[in-house]
């Protein structure tokens, strides 16, 4: 067990910086998720921690040891790959035992350790099988067992669930979280799927274009995004962004689930504590529990999530209202969040004389 520290970590590929000076502390025993769109440098960061990529600049510490110059096998980390990367010519037992044998562990201890892990992940009956004779989920378990058997200080996972079907993915998500609780080891998990990030991580690192946009716990990330990128990346569907009223240097945003949709016939109570926009429903997506209404308003196109599926709203005139405390305020130039409308933060920043 150990924490992982990144100090100004940079990666340059052919004069192009793909990771730009990351400073990050991954606490001991945490389940940290690196999330971001493809090409944001999250996988490269993970591979640098694993030692599969060299660090162009900066330092990586595992525990208190600088590992920049250490080969992958000596870093005491284990990695689970997206496509499992099992050794196709070896059976399940040998796949799991390979890392142990390379460390010179005796045959007897090897057998004991492998059988113990196989029991935990439910592979005891498959030890003699080749990876090609296993289902996707079973292969994933072999990959996990292979990582676990080494009892590493840090687990690294590179989109390990993206090759599984939706049902199995949900199941494995729960299993991975409980596994993390059971082992208490540091997990670093890379994904592009924000749902995976939100459900599994206790610390989420949102990345974009080689930089960290925000590091926070899942709920904080959702409720208090620090900038426009995080606001639009976390949450499904993305936050609606509209022009600010009376401030050309700002943008306002609200979550689709915080908006209220009313037929135009019902005139909303005019109030100072609401943002109001008139418009027309252009399309809707039924999700089952909720429905997404795409509304073309006078203040731009927005999406509203509502628990009604009323068809008569389609094509009709509607009014979208949002309570002002749910309205986020962003600076147009820096893309940073200033505060909320009508909230104390806003007042404070206004008093502080922003812009």
């Amino acid at each position: 067990m150990a924490r992982v520290v990144l100090q100004g970590v940079t990666k340059t590929f052919q004069n192009q910086k793909v990771v730009k000076g990351l400073d990050l502390v991954i606490p001991d025993g945490s389940f940290t998720v690196l999330v971001g769109p493809s090409g944001c440098g999250k996988s490269t960061t993970l591979r640098m921690i694993a030692g599969l990529e060299t660090v162009s600049d900066g330092n990586i510490l595992i525990g208190d040891q600088a590992v920049n110059a250490l080969p992958p096998g000596k870093r005491d980390v284990a990695m689970v790959f997206q496509n499992y990367a099992l050794y196709p010519t070896m059976n399940v037992f040998d796949n799991i035992a390979y890392g142990l044998r390379n460390r010179g562990i005796s045959k007897k201890d090897c057998k004991l350790l492998v059988e113990e892990i196989a029991e935990i992940v439910g592979l005891s009956d498959y030890l003699k099988r080749k990876p090609s004779q296993l289902s996707g989920g079973q292969r994933q378990r072999v990959a996990l067992a292979r990582a676990m058997v080494k009892k590493p200080k840090v687990f690294l996972m590179d989109e390990p669930l993206s090759n599984l079907d939706a049902k199995l993915r949900n199941q494995m998500r729960v299993e991975l979280t409980s596994l993390h609780k059971q082992l208490g080891t540091t997990f670093i998990y890379v994904t592009h799927d924000q749902v995976e990030a939100m459900t599994m991580g206790d610390q989420i690192v949102v990345m974009s274009e080689g930089q960290i946009m925000q590091v926070a716990a899942p709920m904080d990330l959702y409720q208090e995004p620090e900038n426009l990128f995080v606001a639009q990346f976390i949450g499904s569907p993305a936050m609606n962004i509209v022009s600010a009223e009376g401030r050309s240097d700002q943008l306002w945003g609200f979550r689709p689930e915080k908006a209220l949709l009313l037929p135009a016939s019902v005139s909303p109570v005019p109030a100072d504590d609401r943002w109001v926009a008139k418009g027309q429903v252009v399309s809707r997506e039924i999700l089952g529990s909720d429905t997404l209404f795409h509304v073309e308003t006078e203040k731009g196109r927005v999406i509203v999530k509502a628990d009604t599926e009323e068809a008569r709203l389609l094509g009709g005139a509607v009014t979208v209202t949002v309570a002002k405390p749910h309205m986020y305020v962003f600076d147009r130039a820096s893309k940073k969040r200033v505060g909320r409308l009508g909230g104390r933060e806003q007042a404070a920043t206004l008093a502080g004389g922003v812009s």
């Binding site: 694993a50 030692g51 599969l52 080969p71 992958p72 096998g73 000596k74 980390v77 284990a78 990695m79 790959f81 997206q82 496509n83 990367a85 099992l86 050794y87 196709p88 010519t89 070896m90 390979y98 890392g99 390379n102 460390r103 090609s132 292979r146 080494k150």
Partner: protein, 275 residues
């Protein structure tokens, strides 16, 4: 109507295949048949397809007409020796070409390909002179050393090694495997069909090779089976075709056995493997 058309097309296809198969198999069967005939039956016209009586004694005569046991042992030593050396040189070379980036890689690999294109007959003289200078002519070494590294093997294995997914090698690195261990425990088993195929090509080529042993050797002690068999040709009173063919049967028997054993792997190597 349509069905009849399909059936007749199928039939035509089968007949075509059968003709081609016969074309290839017939000389071989003719050799086998001749090996069992008596000399008068060999000369008989029209020739008979199958021997009237099975003359097993032809094989005994062939075997006893020279030091065939010695030839056989020499052939095995040479073919196996070459095979082992070629594996030991081709595997690391192919691994380096497939997996490492180093200055001059393309140039060096180009050189390997050039070697692939030069026939042995073109360079046998300088090699002969060189081996003669080392005093190795007329020894088994002169038959083995020139073939210790195979350009064809390096090329074939490199292609196979390039197919191995990067993640598998990275997983092995994280499992604390050295490069050497990755090469022998991950790469080589994954390239097994290609290795078997190459091994077979190499073995057959050197087992049957007539030209090189003929030049490099001049005494029975270091000669190989093909030279021995060809000496059957030069017996007094005309060629004894039946004995000669019996000798050829002895020559190809090991190859047939190996081929039947390895057939599965050869087909695998040429058909793209899906997971």
């Amino acid at each position: 109507m349509k069905r009849v058309g399909a059936i007749s097309l199928k039939t035509a296809e089968w007949i075509g295949l059968l003709v081609v198969a016969l074309l290839f198999v017939f000389p071989f069967l003719w050799m086998a048949s001749t090996a069992f005939k008596t000399m008068p039956e060999v000369r008989q016209f029209p020739p008979s397809l199958l021997p009237e009586s099975w003359e097993w004694s032809n094989f005994v005569r062939a075997w006893e007409s020279g030091p065939f046991l010695m030839y056989t042992v020499n052939s095995i030593v040479v073919a196996v020796g070459i095979l082992v050396l070629q594996f030991l040189t081709a595997v690391p070379a192919a691994y380096a070409f497939a997996r490492y980036r180093f200055p001059g890689r393309s140039l060096l690999f180009g050189l390997v390909l050039v070697v692939l294109m030069i026939p042995g007959q073109v360079i046998f003289l300088p090699i002969y002179v060189q081996l003669s200078g080392w005093g190795l002519v007329n020894t088994l070494w002169s038959l083995i050393i020139p073939y210790a590294a195979s350009a064809f093997g390096i090329f074939l294995l490199r292609q196979a090694f390039m197919q191995v997914p990067d993640e598998v090698i990275e997983a092995a690195r994280l499992d604390n495997a050295s490069e050497w261990r990755i090469m022998w425990t991950i790469m080589v088993p994954m390239a097994k069909p290609v290795l078997v195929t190459f091994g077979l090509f190499s073995f057959i080529y050197h087992w049957n090779d007539y030209f090189w042993p003929l030049i490099m050797t001049n005494s029975d002690e270091v000669r190989t089976l093909p030279i021995g068999i060809s000496s059957l040709h030069m017996s007094d009173g005309g060629t004894l075709w039946n004995v000669m063919m019996a000798g050829n049967m002895i020559l190809i028997l090991p190859i047939l056995v190996i081929f039947f054993v390895a057939q599965r792997h050869i087909i695998k190597a040429f058909v793209y493997q899906s997971k």
